[in-house]
Amino acid sequence: MTTIQFDRGPQKDALLAQASKLPREIAPPRDLWPAIRAKLADQAQVEPRRINWPMALAAGFVVASVSALLTWSLMRDPGPAAGDRALASVVATQAELVPVNYGPGSALGAAQLKARDDLLAQFRQRLDQMPPETRAAVIKNLAIIQRAADEIGAALAQDPASGLLTGLLLSTYRDELKIYSKVVTAGDALTRRT
């Protein structure tokens, strides 16, 4: 293993000693409170707490991916013909399926919610067409993702600035969308028209 020695001579300590005497407080050139207060008010009107920007940024990527996937899927499959609509209506068994809740500290933005809702609608339709063991596996794994999101949310409450936790939460969101998209695209094998 590589080891670096950090000797600490008196001169170096003197430099740090000088640095430690610098004033820790520097007044901003203007009062920032009015702007902060306005942001708090905006936030209260929209949603109490939101995921921070790296998450939103990355989630935007996921949204783009899912949108592309949906477009691709729709292009492949023009949709059920009239005679197939009966099949499309057989969606009752998944009525209890609810999207993963990522907790109050990570509310999804409108774009993320829309992407998920669009995908979820197709997912519900296709899930009924899957083998029973697959349906069970999917439902079980969505519960696993919910548990993971809960665990990460609890950890984030302890350490809200953690990049590790934010990254993991984003991963769970991506995994949720991937499950939906997998079922949707897998259903193509049954429903794609020639």
């Binding site: 063991e133 697959t134 596996a137 990254g167 049954l190």
Partner: protein, 297 residues
């Protein structure tokens, strides 16, 4: 996949008529290019693909249900095979067995619901997807993408430098003897990885376990992440790598290097960053509550 049937190309369109009997046994054959693109989809049963030294595609099909219909479309550049079920519903009882022989250089795309997929000797790019069927194939030099929902998957390396990508929700996905790069993602499924001369390894799970046995190139990059699954990595010595291991509430164990230290005052997690040997390879592993272990034996 978009199918283009050009009038300029003498397309062979052979749509088999359903037979009145309970089962259907069919065979098809077409002359094709050495790197023909093959797109096959099935619902239940099996898809077996074997490469041979001829620029021909040969299909032998056995459909249990008299309602299922086999579509076979072929041009020189593209072959499409599909089992069509009129009611478009999985019923769990009517198998369709597709035995396919293809040129070695073929590019293969296969999709099934519960049908197993088995591929042997195909050198071209492969994209294999099954919902609940088992998928088995070999990796040569071309990219291999394997995806399942609940089915298991196995990829065997053959000495070529492949780019392997696997995804599953709950399946066990094994990849052995892979050279080049590996990307794997599961939710509750497990990933078993055996990478030789690895250049890149990315693996991620929510609750599934990741077990990686690796021999890495000097400039390799390894990134692994779980929420609650355990991560175990065994590296072939000598190990020359920079490690960055972090877990929020799990444990870190290593056969070499310093001991992990408490991460911060907020919780029980720990982290471990160090350089082993001359460095070069970079290893980053993270988890929420899953344990992390690295070893060189």
């Amino acid at each position: 996949m978009t199918i283009r049937i050009s009038l300029a190309v003498a397309a062979v369109l052979l749509a088999a008529s359903p037979l009145a009997d309970a089962s259907q046994n069919l065979s098809k054959r077409a002359n094709v290019a050495a790197d023909v693109a093959i797109d096959v989809s099935n619902i239940e049963g099996r898809v077996d693909v074997t490469a041979w030294d001829r620029n021909e595609v040969e299909l032998t099909a056995s459909l249990e249900s008299d309602k299922d219909r086999l579509e076979f479309e072929a041009t020189e550049r593209q072959v499409r095979i599909k089992v069509v079920r009129p009611d478009r519903h999985f019923n769990g009882s009517d198998d369709a067995i597709l035995i396919l022989k293809v040129p070695k250089g073929a590019r293969l795309s296969a999709e099934t619901v519960s049908a197993d997929i088995s591929v042997s000797g195909v050198l071209g790019e492969q994209r294999l997807e099954s919902v609940s069927g088992e998928v088995r194939t070999q990796a040569y030099d071309a990219p291999v993408k394997l995806s399942t929902v609940s089915g298991d998957g196995t990829i065997s390396g053959t000495g070529g430098k492949a780019s392997v990508s696997v995804e599953s929700v709950s399946g066990l996905i094994s990849a052995a003897g892979i050279r080049g790069s590996y990307d794997g993602e599961v939710v509750s499924g497990d990933l078993r990885i055996n990478l030789t001369a690895g250049e890149r390894l990315n693996a991620r799970s929510i609750s599934g376990d990741i077990d990686a046995r690796v021999e890495l190139m000097a400039s390799a990059r390894v990134e692994m992440e779980t929420v609650s699954g355990t991560i175990k990595m065994t590296m072939k010595p000598p190990v020359n790598a920079e490690f960055d291991l972090e877990t929020f509430s799990g444990d870190i164990g290593a056969c070499f290097g310093p001991e992990a230290r408490s991460k911060n005052r907020y919780g029980p997690g720990s982290e471990l960053s160090f350089t082993q040997g001359s460095g070069g390879t970079r290893v980053s592993i993270q988890s929420l509550s899953g344990d992390i272990s690295i070893c060189d034996r």
